[in-house]
Symmetry: C2
DNA sequence: GAATTAACTCTACAAATGTAGAATAAAAAA
DNA sequence: TTTTTTATTCTACATTTGTAGAGTTAATTC
């Protein structure tokens, strides 16, 4: 099951903080902050969906993510690729490189990354 | 406003076919095909959202997309980048290159694409 | 220890989404 | 021209999502 947008935001915070109490999560929100109960509802739903768990500390809980950001993200990108590019990652890559405006420096970096990948493949 | 998942599927078909009558759209679906009324509802919603328009032909309509796939897609990717990578396209690119398993050939292609982009930037 | 606060659960409710039946109208087939 | 098919609109309804009040309980502060 997927996270909704509002839930994804909570995840973002959790990923950044690694673990957090309700209070920390609320702080992480910009004004206007949502009601505590709103965040509580979202957390509960995320727990049901097995995206979040917690450790009990007194009467409150320290929440933490159950899925890695990279894994979650992978699924997203793969979904996009499947959806929009008939499963062709290279088509996606090409599109991405032309449409996103990466700076010269970023492009050079990317090239390096690709070279590393290529080395790995060739082994 | 954004398209929902089901609506996105209709869009996919429309993008592929460029324009289509109800019948064509239904054919494009794999089994089990949705009810005609379902697709009709989706189309109507998409028309409201200004993603689709149509030309009338007799008693039926030829639907066509109002937004280009590439534009729609850009927004998606940019959303992803913003959401997950603090707006850093290069971070995304790096992630993408390492996590998606592109073949050797695809990586080479991608390198070429990057070179072309680099040439453009240098001018 | 009484009052305040923080975190949680329960309940609720409006909007969006996925899905489709019933009714209608027009076109095509018999 | 009667029947059948097709496309559309209207209505409907369950589920999911966004948001939060009310109430409860435990911890903290006076």
């Amino acid at each position: 099951m997927q996270l909704s947008n509002a839930e994804e935001q909570v995840m973002e915070h959790l990923w950044k903080m690694e673990k957090a109490f309700m209070k920390d999560l609320l702080e992480a929100y910009p004004e206007p902050k949502p009601a505590t109960t709103t965040v509580a509802t979202l957390l509960k739903r995320m727990i049901d969906k097995k995206f979040v768990a917690y450790n009990e500390f007194g009467n409150s809980r320290e929440y933490y993510p159950l899925v890695k950001k990279s894994d979650y993200f992978s699924k997203h990108v793969n979904g996009l690729i499947k959806n929009f590019f008939d499963n062709s990652a290279s088509q996606f890559a090409s599109f991405f490189t032309t449409e996103t405006n990466l700076s010269e420096k970023e492009l050079e970096e990317l090239k390096k990354i690709i070279d590393v990948q290529l080395q790995k493949k060739k082994k």
